[in-house]
């Protein structure tokens, strides 16, 4: 069990997301960087999609109320356990009373605190992710507060090895364009309805992640994307990654807590395999987009899967070798 010491808000319990309830108007929620979540779980020997705490604001501090193994992945900054430095993407054994402190990130923007066995909160509609709009899931359907106590499913001293780490997704699966974090995008239904020069500018341009960017959506700043003529689109289902272009031409990328439906014109969709890159892009940073095909998008998912499988295999071997 851990106790939140920080007064900072916005940390939420997330797993991979809540699927199968779109038809009730329930969006998926889930981790903005599902790879970091999966890696933290793999380091702990948890199921890949066990729930963890997503931390978007720093510094963040908590105390272990009982012995528990844990991993911190995602954004890398100065992290320490009772003052002792904790490397990024690392699994460690915490003892009762120890304090974990996560400092401002030097890379990435969201950290994941994974606990042995996963965070113990009830499943709601098949998931432990926090549904903020509906006020259910996660910890009582809300962001964590100072004083909150959260249990792990497998507390105590871990029988599995701790004190080791893993190479980060940004190292294992690099994707940059002209030195900037890049994401692959599949054109969407209204792509052809935008001006040629707007389309060209989207792919060639640098896009700044504005301060109005969060789990609901990322508002980007760059050369306005303009339609050939005004469009009214009927409300339809959407998924995280859909790039909407409202009046004004500044795109909004729908993220994990976005509404599951929308009616703004769609330029394209950031592919599922690259959503984690966007989830880790800090406010104020600039990103690039790369046009890709369906086949390439599917191949990218397979690349992610192979990386996770490789890590799982190595972690299992490390476990065997350590007995």
């Amino acid at each position: 069990m851990i106790e939140i010491l920080s007064a900072t808000a916005l940390a939420t319990v997330q797993d991979f997301g809540r699927f199968g309830s779109l038809g009730y108007g329930v969006g998926t929620s889930g981790a903005m960087d599902h790879l970091a979540l999966a890696l933290g779980n793999l380091l702990l020997g948890n199921p890949e999609d066990a729930a963890a705490i997503e931390i978007p604001l720093f510094p963040f501090e908590l105390r272990f109320i009982e012995d528990c193994a844990f991993a911190v992945t995602g954004a890398a900054g100065e992290a320490s356990l009772d003052g002792q430095p904790l490397p990024p993407f690392w699994v460690a054994q915490a003892r009762e009373g120890q304090a974990l402190s996560l400092g401002y990130p030097t890379s990435g923007s969201r950290a994941y605190l994974c606990l042995a066995g996963g965070v113990d909160v009830p499943l709601v509609l098949g998931s432990r992710s926090t549904q903020l709009r509906g006020e259910f899931g996660g910890l009582q359907g809300r962001a964590l507060q100072q004083g909150d106590r959260i249990s792990a499913l497998r507390p105590g001293v871990s029988a599995l090895p701790t004190d080791f780490g893993v190479v980060s997704p940004s190292q294992a699966l690099p994707l940059k364009l002209d030195g900037l974090t890049a994401m692959r995008v599949l054109p969407a239904a209204e792509y052809e309805c935008f001006l040629d020069e707007s389309r060209a500018a989207f792919w060639a341009g640098e896009w700044k992640v504005t301060t109005q960017s969060n789990r609901y959506g990322y508002r980007l700043e760059g050369a306005p994307i303009l339609p050939k003529e005004a469009m009214e689109v009927r409300s339809h289902g959407i998924v995280p990654g859909v790039i909407q272009v409202p009046h004004g031409g500044q795109p909004i990328i729908q993220m994990r807590d976005a509404q599951p439906s929308g009616g703004y014109p769609k330029f394209g969709t950031v592919i599922e395999a690259d959503l984690w890159r966007l989830g880790q892009a800090p406010i104020g940073s600039k990103v690039r987009f790369i046009e890709c095909s369906y086949t390439e998008a599917v191949a990218a998912l397979e690349d992610n899967q192979r990386y996770l499988e490789e890590v799982r295999r190595l972690v299992d071997l490390h476990g065997l070798a350590s007995r």
Binding site: F19, G20, S21, L22, G23, Y24, G25, V26, G27, V124, L125, Q131, R133, G134, E135, F136, G137, L186, A188, A189, Y216, E232, R234, S235, H236, G237, I238, V239, P240, G241, V242, P246, H247, G248, Q259, P260, S261, G263, Y264, K266, T269, V270, I271, E272, A273, Y294, A297, V298, A300, L301
Partner: protein, 223 residues
């Protein structure tokens, strides 16, 4: 009478590698929506498909895993649409009392300005139809309604509002809906009602489903 009719075809597009969007052709109407419901029931059972989510005369299909044969899926989908029959409306009728205008309708003036109608006319035209629930979306329990009088159509707002109250009755383009919880909205809010639309502990968790109907009643008009 022409024997060769060229009917517009549905449009199919991708939402990344995660989902596929099927848009029925023609005017937004109830009969195509009933065919969408029928299509959803059928396609929702297909091997690659996780969920078939109706929208306004459209259907989003989320994938369990991205299908290898995407063009084959599209062909089957078009065939299923061509063969689909409208599902009859057999849902329940739910009545909602609405307070129009004043603090409960912060954008009533914008609708007045755009439509050229006065508040009383707007409220009466808005309560006239029996609204079929076309689809759920937007947020837990929220219903997209069909059948709004086209004279009330007002474009979505240029700048969405950060938060409108739960139960807000709004107009977005040619559509109308009732919000099920507080949150951001790009629609024009003209009134408010009270009802619990969603309870995650119930099965199903949403109170209404496609095919149900809403009857709005004027509780009060604040001018």
């Amino acid at each position: 009478m022409s024997t060769a009719s060229v009917s517009p075809r549905p449009h199919i597009s991708l939402l990344g590698s995660t989902a596929l969007l099927f848009e029925a052709p023609g005017e937004l109407d109830l009969a195509p929506q009933q065919r969408i419901w029928s299509l959803a029931l059928q396609v929702g059972q297909w091997a690659d498909i996780h969920e078939a989510v109706p929208g306004m005369n459209n259907l989003m299909l989320t994938f369990i895993k991205p299908p290898r044969d995407l063009s084959g899926l599209c062909e089957r989908l078009l065939e299923a649409w061509d063969a689909s029959q409208p599902l009859p409306l057999e849902g329940r009728i739910v009545e909602l009392p609405v307070v129009y205008g004043g603090e409960f309708g912060p954008h009533m003036n914008d609708v007045v300005a755009h439509t050229g109608l006065d508040i009383d006319t707007i409220a009466n035209l808005h309560c006239e139809p029996l609204y079929p629930v076309y689809a759920l979306g937007s947020h837990p329990g929220y219903c997209y309604l069909g059948g709004m009088d086209s004279r009330l159509a007002t474009p979505r707002r240029q700048v969405p509002v950060i938060s409108i109250a739960s139960g807000s009755v709004s107009i977005g383009g040619v559509q109308t809906g009732v919000s099920a919880s507080a949150g951001p909205s790009g629609w024009n809010t003209i009134g408010r009602t009270e009802m619990s639309f969603f309870d995650p502990t119930q099965n199903p968790p949403a109170m209404l489903r496609p095919g149900d109907m809403l009857r709005l009643r004027i509780e009060r008009i604040i001018r």
